[in-house]
Symmetry: C2
Subunit: 318 residues, 2 copies
Amino acid sequence: MDIIEQVVSGDVRTVARILRDIDDEIPSAMDVLRELYPHTGKSYVVGFTGSPGVGKSALVDQIATNYRKAAKTVGILAVDPTSPFTGGAILGDRIRMQRHFLDPGVFIRSLATRGHFGGLSRSTNDMVNVLDAAGKDVILIETVGVGQDEVEIVNSAHTTVLVTIPGMGDEIQAIKAGIMEIGNIFVVNKADREGSRKTVRELMNMIELGARRHNGGEWEPQIVETEAIKGRGIEELYEAIEKHRAYLLATHTEKWREILQKRARMQFLVVLKDQAFRTILERLEGRGDSLDEMVQKIVDKESDPYTIVQQIIDKELK
Amino acid sequence: MDIIEQVVSGDVRTVARILRDIDDEIPSAMDVLRELYPHTGKSYVVGFTGSPGVGKSALVDQIATNYRKAAKTVGILAVDPTSPFTGGAILGDRIRMQRHFLDPGVFIRSLATRGHFGGLSRSTNDMVNVLDAAGKDVILIETVGVGQDEVEIVNSAHTTVLVTIPGMGDEIQAIKAGIMEIGNIFVVNKADREGSRKTVRELMNMIELGARRHNGGEWEPQIVETEAIKGRGIEELYEAIEKHRAYLLATHTEKWREILQKRARMQFLVVLKDQAFRTILERLEGRGDSLDEMVQKIVDKESDPYTIVQQIIDKELK
């Protein structure tokens, strides 16, 4: 059985190896990804995003459990330095996650958020494709913050869950200003804390003001209060996700095609940008052009980044 | 007077126009940046990073005031959807900032965090260079979160201030896991809140464990408790920044050269990646190759992003 067949059959060791190759930016991973691509498109991808400390991992953990109860296989990608999956959070959390480590129906992978020179969203997309080809029914992506990478990552999900906690007024502002339009479901986690209802009301106002429009006028963004640690509200969140999935899939509407196109465009541009950059760096290296020397020229003001870049582009591009 | 002379003389309208061109990704901005580059290198750049709601803008506002008192000119770049500079936060904040809007010694610009397809760190770097050439003594960058873009942005600063608030244990984890090594100064803002001392102790432990090493063994990362709104701790923070600046500048040591090289390398790679991508897209367009058609082929599984990207690279690169 070749490597592609092994992935498609769901072989855990092969999948793990390819994900490692992607993380290490091994060039041959691209060939594997190319051959795997025809096997993708069956997974449902759900993105969870929010600031550190809002409890995204606990939510992902609980939702994974719900999908397992429904006999669905699950892939989890944690793009978050604070994730217990990544090893960031407290011991209790990590132990709690271990129930999934023992379950062959759940594949968990974390991505380092350092060292990828802007290639984080590409790595995440590539890994989603591998888990998709490997037959995971559902892929849950946990990502932190509201930066550009997160927007790109979240744009490659079918359903996006924005997670906040009570009392983070500025957090709501962030959602409003930055990523409101990408939220299909809003979660107020740690809802036992003071101010949960107020946060829900703020979210409702925000949705009234614009999020509904951004969702195409048809899907009304859901708001769910949860206490992930205790399991409260999880069933409701699970149903909200499934409801959004059903909304998207029901009719193979314009909306579903839009989402497929948006995902394809994002994946394509992310790979193009990253691969062009990698290829140019490789060629510079192949020609013996020293990056260090170029950097030194910039430091010494003998040249500048814009001139050197233009020279490289003139030389490397047709 | 040509455009370069106008920028170098600090003409506000010209500076504003060029920053707008950078934001709009107008190709000619690159020529301006190239000619401005020899005039850069005099500004001191301080990056403030932390989650939404920790009060970065209020800190930046206060520190700007301190620099103004010291008769230094200030540039402020807000790369944060929640920043009052950007228009994200509550009215009171925005009014407070207005004292600077009336001061010709302060130039404030916010960057949208949407729409830049991964080019956010490039835009920020480019804008820093313009403000630098325009003669700002100090440039304060406000950025949210711990994503890849933020790391790139913060790496282009001389001094990095990581801002947190009491009771965000996971926040500390994030700092620890993701960006500990880039923090020169740690601020516990809203220090009147319960748990501030505990947060300081956690930070001290963290520094003991590793941040000192990451700072080259010589600079001991400072921890400052502040209440930005009331001005408490601001003088101390200001002194910590100046102390770090003095440390870097004092001897023109290895450390200072390292920082210049790190900044130059980051700027160079960021411009290369972004410019190569833009140039390839322009050429595809010039040849009449339709991105939409490529995307549709991916959606229809007639091809895949990896194959199409490889075809483009084979065609466009020598």
